[in-house]
């Protein structure tokens, strides 16, 4: 599915300072029954966000007007270590994207979530534990503290303090995100080479 190209993103952030946030929390299994990709953002963090009767849980960050009352909505989510562990459901990445986030920052990502994110157009930015603490502190000091994420330079900056860190992303994936391409475009162009490989395969 087509997604918006990624270049430089400047936005305040929504902080979620919890470790091991798993994809069952990001989107519970009972919302995986769709056969189309529609409205997943509504159920992002469903059980942390809403009571069983559908009323919002006021203590959850996505219901805190400090972070969510702004227009346009904030595009950066900052999570604790081991973000996105558990199930391979891409629905988790869809929910994050469809809610409006384009970038997730953490000191550590689960592998499959990281892959899925890039495939749907979300940039996962992995920072050091120390830098993550600095981000949380900056947001604590000023809920509107803005972050600048530059994909071309592979840097993330806390604008209020000027603190900056580099992040890693492989060249190929960077190129995809910058141009809004996906892997299937690339693979389709290799059809003959793949066919020849399959011919030689033992299985």
């Amino acid at each position: 599915m087509a997604y918006d190209k990624f270049n430089i993103l400047t936005s305040a952030a929504v902080p979620l300072p919890l470790e091991n946030v798993d994809t069952d929390q990001i989107i519970p299994a009972r919302f995986l029954k769709a056969t189309e990709r529609k409205n997943f953002g509504d159920n992002l963090f469903r059980d942390w966000r809403y009571h069983p009767d559908g009323t919002p849980k006021t203590d959850f960050v996505l219901n805190n007007p400090l972070y969510t009352a702004q227009t346009p909505p904030r595009k950066i989510l900052v999570g604790g270590r081991n973000f996105g562990s558990g199930s391979s459901r891409e629905h988790a990445a869809w929910a994050v994207y469809d809610y409006g986030f384009r970038c997730v920052v953490s000191s550590f990502f689960a592998d499959i979530f990281k892959n899925n994110s890039i495939n749907v157009g979300i940039l996962p930015v992995q920072v050091s534990a120390g830098f993550l603490d600095q981000i949380f502190e900056a947001i604590h000091a000023d809920p509107d503290a803005a972050l600048e994420v530059s994909l071309p330079d592979q840097t993330i900056t806390i604008l209020a303090t000027g603190a900056q860190e580099k992040f890693d992303i492989n060249v190929y994936k960077k190129d995809n995100l910058t141009n809004g391409y996906d892997d299937i475009d690339y693979l389709r162009a290799m059809k003959a080479e793949i066919g020849a490989f399959a011919e030689r395969s033992l299985y």
Binding site: M1, P17, L18, E19, N20, D22, D24, Q25, P28, A29, R30, L32, K33, A34, T35, E36, R37, D47, P52, G80, R81, N82, S85, G86, S87, S88, R89, E90, H91, A93, F108, F109, A110, D111, I112, N115, N116, N119, V120, N170, V171, Y172, K173, D182, D183, I184, Y186, L187, R188, M190, K191, E193, I194, F197, A198, S201, L202, Y203
Partner: protein
């Protein structure tokens, strides 16, 4: 390639990986060829929609296998599925499979069952293969010496369209356990023990090889249980070198090679082991003597310990911060609580971790001659119809029935509670599945992961019990 490189010692993982690289992208991932692709009803519909939008077909339909499992009811499977959304997904799987000439074992088909149970038991999974599925527990198939891992829906679409995905090569880890597992200690305990040592994220970025006596002496069922849970420590997957146990398991299965093809395959499969002196990025060593029956007390699979132990204090664990307190609070537990004697409301035997014949044998060995505790609701769900048939053929069903248990029909069931098999909020379930996340078995459900023996002991005693006392 120079001579010295050719003879350099290689790992099992490298041998299989390198044999599947179609092309390496400069500075990027490998274009990685996939031998077998499993699909199910939950993560495939949007991938097929994507193909349609692009106007692209399935490149090699004979390499993809569809089975319905995540969303299926476990009683009255002959009736129409009452949940409209589930029924819609099951229809979509059938429609898409038919349209693209993909083999489809839908609800009611005699080969139907959980994708990671039916693949191996029909011989579709073989050593040296690359296998993917839109499900993180695809790592199960690594038990055969295959590279197998879970993928997202975009990647499902990629594999359908091109039989390849773009993958950077992970780092390599080896986990060795020496010695012999003690009485009452199963494969599930071995892997829960490892995850508790390494943590739920300790193997992220790695592909694991399990080595040592414990795995060499393990049955294929046990090896599948171990590889299944590799993902629960963050690993992309886990694998075990194929050996005589593997070959004996595969011989004669429906999709296993036959005749000359078998001999040829066997010759190749015998080369699939890590050479002496091959180097891993990270190694861990454990001893079987240190492992007792395990159980989890928290909300990620790394929060587990020996069943005779107390719940650790926050200061003694790796992830002891705010998340630890939140987790114990969710479970209704406190630091230093004794785990034995904790209340149990539900028992779940099943899932792609422990829904195979051996698991039912183990469960039956404990409940035989005893009665199910009156207040416990027990869901016993075979991983496939083939497992179900075997349970009946071996007389296990009679043992279970006599003890007050009933058998349900195959599917993922309470492992992820997408169907009606949900544990109610606040209730405790001793579960043989693989995840104890908040709400995994139903909103508010509290899950304690354990082996089939521990589950059986809980089912008859009505509280968490050390199964060794009942053996």
């Amino acid at each position: 390639m120079t001579q010295s490189q050719q003879t350099a010692p290689n790992t099992l993982f490298d041998k299989v990986w390198d044999a599947h690289v179609v092309r390496s992208v400069a500075g990027g991932p490998d274009v990685f060829f996939i031998d077998r692709h499993f699909i199910h009803e939950v993560t495939s519909p949007v991938a097929f929609l994507g193909l349609e939008t692009r106007g692209v077909g399935v490149l090699f339909p004979e390499r993809t296998f569809a089975t319905a499992d995540h969303n299926t009811p476990t009683i009255n499977q002959h009736l129409p599925v009452s949940d409209a959304l589930s029924a819609n997904q099951l229809d979509a799987l059938e429609r898409n499979s038919k349209k693209h000439s993909i083999s489809h074992w839908g609800l009611g088909h005699h080969k139907n069952g959980i994708v990671h149970v039916v693949g191996p038991e029909n011989g579709i999974t073989q050593p040296g293969m690359t296998i993917v599925c839109g499900d993180s527990h695809t790592s199960t198939h690594g038990a055969f010496g295959a590279i197998a891992f879970g993928i997202g829906t975009s990647e499902v679409e990629m594999v359908l369209a091109s039989q390849c995905i773009m993958q950077p090569k992970p780092k390599k880890m080896r986990i060795t356990i020496d010695g012999t597992l003690q009485k009452g200690v199963l494969a599930k305990d071995a892997i829960l023990y490892v995850i508790a040592q390494i943590s739920a994220s300790g193997a992220t970025g790695y592909f694991v090889e399990y080595a040592g006596e414990v795995f060499e002496n393990m049955s294929m069922e046990g090896r599948m249980t171990v590889c299944n849970m590799s993902i629960e420590m963050g690993a992309r997957g886990g694998m075990i070198a194929p050996d005589e146990t593997t070959f004996a398991y595969l011989e004669g299965r429906e999709y296993s090679p036959k005749g000359q093809a078998w001999d040829k395959a066997l010759q190749y499969w015998k080369t699939l082991k890590t050479d002496q002196g091959a180097v891993f990025d990270l190694e861990y060593h454990y001893h079987a003597a240190d492992i007792e029956p395990q159980i989890t007390y928290g909300t990620n699979p790394g929060m587990g310990t020996g069943i005779s132990k107390h719940i650790p204090n926050a200061s003694d664990v790796l992830d002891g911060g705010a998340s630890y307190a939140k987790s114990l609070n969710y479970m209704g537990f406190a630091e230093n609580d004794q785990i034995i004697g904790k209340a149990v409301d539900f028992v779940f035997l099943g899932s792609c971790t422990n829904g195979r014949i051996e698991d039912f044998r183990a469960f039956a060995s404990i409940v035989k001659g005893r009665k199910k505790a009156a207040h416990v609701t027990a869901w016993l769900v075979p991983g496939s119809h083939i497992v179900e048939e075997q349970i009946k053929a071996e007389g296990i069903l009679d043992v279970l029935t006599e003890s007050g248990f009933a058998l349900r029909q195959p599917g993922c069931s309470a492992c992820l509670a997408m169907n009606d098999d949900k544990v109610p909020a606040g209730k405790y379930a001793v579960s043989t599945s693989n995840r104890n996340f908040e709400g995994r078995q139903g909103p508010g459900a509290r899950t304690l992961l354990a082996s089939p023996l521990v589950a059986a002991a809980a089912a008859v005693m009505g509280v968490v019990t050390d199964p060794r006392e009942l053996m």
